[in-house]
Assembly symmetry: C2
Homo-oligomer: 146 residues x 2
């Protein structure tokens, strides 16, 4: 049980090689998504076992975790690519990274503002509704009015 070979783990929780399934389970990223990331160049093509199965190491694990966190923070794959390019280049500055983060923060705030306007409108038209059984509905009226 502490040498889960199918996962590619070897000793004491220390990971030396991971199958795609093992990587998927450790990161919580769908197996198909890992392959997808490889196809579009977000993840590098890992070495293969004799049978052609993908073998991942700690670096892959770190990178995929990075991608997953970034996605959870709402960065698009394009933005993630930009962040990775900075990291891969190795000569990124903190300022460059913060620029991307702040731009994304502005996008998020804009979206929140949009949704809040929507929320108000939806609440308003819904409030007009007397919830009768008659087919006369203020919501529909609002949507249909010229």
């Amino acid at each position: 049980m502490d040498s889960d070979v199918t996962d590619g783990e070897v000793t004491g929780g220390e990971v030396t090689a991971l199958s795609i399934g093992g990587l998927s389970r450790r990161t919580g990223v769908h197996l198909e998504t890992v392959r997808y990331y490889e196809n579009i160049g977000i993840m590098p093509a890992p070495p293969r076992s004799a049978a052609g199965h993908r073998r991942y190491d700690r670096e892959h694990l770190k990178r995929l975790t990075f991608v997953k966190r970034s996605r959870e923070l709402g960065f698009t794959l394009k933005e993630v690519r930009a962040l990775l390019a900075l990291v891969d280049g190795g000569d990124y500055t903190c300022g460059e990274v913060q620029d991307l983060t702040l731009k994304h923060l502005r996008d998020v705030r804009d979206k929140i503002a949009d949704l809040q306007r929507l929320e108000v409108t939806l609440a308003e038209i819904s409030d007009k509704c007397a919830r009768g059984t008659i087919p006369d509905c203020p919501v529909i009226e609002t949507l249909f009015r010229d």
Copy 2:
């Protein structure tokens, strides 16, 4: 000028027939989108002119306006379809419509909450940044940490 034939308008701003371009301009819905709505059954197939051009009337205009407003309020096309089905059936009750609206309102509120959590996290990690030119970046650290 007050009989814009290419738009299919006839007299005094009163619309009797609209080309797809005229409908598009009046509603602000992209011409291709109008055709798309026809393909997927959101808009009915209108009659055609001798040359095969689509001819729309006031009912089409009203329906497309309805669809556009609903979309602007963030209803998905599936939800718009449900609203239209109620209207088309003719026997909808105000309660049914309000149910859809309130469900959508809940979705919007959930999304706002999600984005606000994101906003806080992004602001926090960005604030940690000293904006130096050194390649050591707290944002990247956060994204990479185990």
